[in-house]
């Protein structure tokens, strides 16, 4: 399958630039907070020596005079989704692999776009503000390499024998775990050519399942399928608070009115809310987000609000809130509780459904039944076993 890869380097920073055009030409770093530590999300392309996820202090030691911006992941996600939506107008097979990395299946598009130039021009038009790098190849790994090594404002197509292209590339470009990359360095394997020259079995014995993948990738083989976006209906509402507030009651009132709007509108079409994402943005631009799943679809504001209230109480806000929103990403019909002549069967169905919900929420089997395994055994612990009830 031919795959087109669009890389959008410095995507978070370019999103900020799109929102604040005055940032152009000013060195800036986008940061996020993890625990008590501030880390680098992204930075303006003119800053050298920086890497995503490095501590901010280290970054500031290298570049003292920079502007600091707090990461707004919600906004970056929304912009990325807009881009994916637009690209889906060109091909139905669009995968947003990571923020700023997109794979597009292009097989069969020659009926719409006469040649690669036309196809790439159409894709470039969507992401023109984001300085895209574009490449085409036979699989995702090669397509990403083609994009990464494509000249600016142009594209690269990789076909035929890849050995010459791959042999001098550093092993650090392999999409494998950091641990494996550092292990490769420890073994003195710096380039893909060195890896490809070795037989596969030592890699499997040293790296486990990832060893095979490392060896295959070094030869340009990648059988990872394209995962097109799962189309899901989502309803999103947000509101700016009348004044910046720390009061949970005020936040709850705002969320309640958003929910009331959603239930009053026609978007639900008689369905209830199965899962939703709550998010807030505090005055210092910190983002807070929590997912809530409902065992039974919430059919009215009141039943949803009680859960929302508990989540707000359990997970404190990072600061005074200036904007709050709800994204409904799971809709469902209420389960019929029809009475039946076959009451036992219905009871079993309800029980199975409840167990399924429990496992979805908590993971792992939660309810077990006692099953006879070797009831004749003279060894007591061999006679019975617990097995998951719904399997």
């Amino acid at each position: 399958m031919r795959i087109l890869c669009v890389l959008l380097p410095h995507f978070p920073w370019r999103c900020e630039l799109r929102r604040h055009p005055a940032l152009a030409g000013r060195p800036s770093i986008v940061t996020y907070t993890e625990g008590s530590q501030k880390l680098v999300t992204d930075f303006s392309p003119d800053l050298t020596g920086l890497q995503p996820d490095m501590p901010l202090q280290q970054a500031l030691a290298l570049h003292g005079q920079v502007e600091l911006l707090l990461a707004d992941i919600q906004y970056y996600g929304a912009v990325f989704n807009e881009i994916l939506d637009a690209l889906e107008q060109q091909s139905p097979l669009v995968e947003g692999a990571d923020l700023g990395c997109i794979y597009i299946g292009v097989d069969g598009l020659q009926l719409i776009y006469p040649d690669d130039n036309a196809l790439i021009a159409a894709a470039r038009k969507v992401v023109t503000d984001f300085a895209p790098l574009i490449g085409i190849a036979e699989n995702k790994f090669l397509a990403s390499l083609a994009a990464r090594y494509s000249p600016p404002n142009d594209y690269k197509i990789l076909t035929g024998n890849m050995d010459a292209f791959l042999k001098d590339l550093p092993c650090d470009i392999l999409p494998v775990s950091v641990k494996s990359r550092s292990k490769l360095r420890d073994f003195g394997l710096a380039t893909l050519g060195q890896v490809a020259a070795l037989p596969p079995s030592p890699f499997q014995s040293q790296f486990g399942p990832e060893g095979k993948r490392i060896w295959e990738l070094s030869r340009g083989v990648d059988d990872t399928p394209l995962y097109p976006r799962f189309m899901e209906e989502a309803i999103e509402e947000s509101a700016a608070m009348p004044s910046v507030t720390v009061s949970l009651d005020a936040i709850l009132v705002a969320l309640e009115s958003l929910l009331a709007d959603i239930f009053a509108g026609h978007a639900l079409k008689g369905r209830g809310i199965r899962s939703l994402t709550l998010w807030t943005r505090s005055w210092n631009a910190e983002h807070w987000e929590r997912n809530i799943n409902f065992k039974e679809p919430a059919m009215e504001v009141r039943s949803a609000v009680s859960r929302i209230k508990r989540v707000l109480e359990d997970y404190p806000q990072p600061g005074p809130v200036e904007q709050a929103g709800i994204k409904i990403n799971g809709l469902g019909y209420p389960r019929g509780r029809q009475k039946s002549l076959f009451r036992d069967i219905r009871a079993q169905e309800h029980l199975a459904e409840d167990i399924k919900q429990l496992e979805l929420r908590l993971g792992n089997p939660q309810v077990y039944s006692v099953k006879e395994v070797e009831p004749w055994s003279r060894i007591p612990e061999r006679r019975y076993a617990l097995t998951p009830t719904n399997r």
Binding site: P365, Y368, V370, K371, E372, V373, P375, R378, I379, P380, E381, R382, R383, Y384, A385, L386, T387, P388, R391
Partner: protein, 94 residues
């Protein structure tokens, strides 16, 4: 004969039932239990029954146990066994 349910038992989801619990036992010179240390020490009043099972002798870890059905001084009844391979004492419903 157990009816085949057609379901697969997977090792990661399978949980044994009635596994033996290690217990501290005081033995007399002949190896019979005289007291059990549960939350506190309790003397064995009577040994009501005794039986031995030897199984899976073809495996690397054979099963060889000497079971005792004992009545404690407190009136509580327990099934104990001595693992004749390791020498440990265990409590288990039989």
């Amino acid at each position: 004969m157990v009816e085949n349910t057609g379901k697969t038992l997977r090792a990661d989801t399978y949980k044994p039932v009635n596994t033996p619990e290690a217990l501290k036992i005081e033995e007399d010179a002949s190896g019979l239990p005289v007291a059990v240390r549960l939350k506190r020490r309790q003397a064995v009043a009577t040994i009501e029954d005794k039986w031995r099972i030897d199984d899976e002798w073809w495996r690397a870890e054979p099963v060889s146990r000497l079971y005792y059905n004992v009545l404690l001084a407190s009136g509580q009844r327990l099934v104990l066994y001595k693992d004749l391979v390791t020498g440990g004492w265990y409590q288990q419903e039989y």
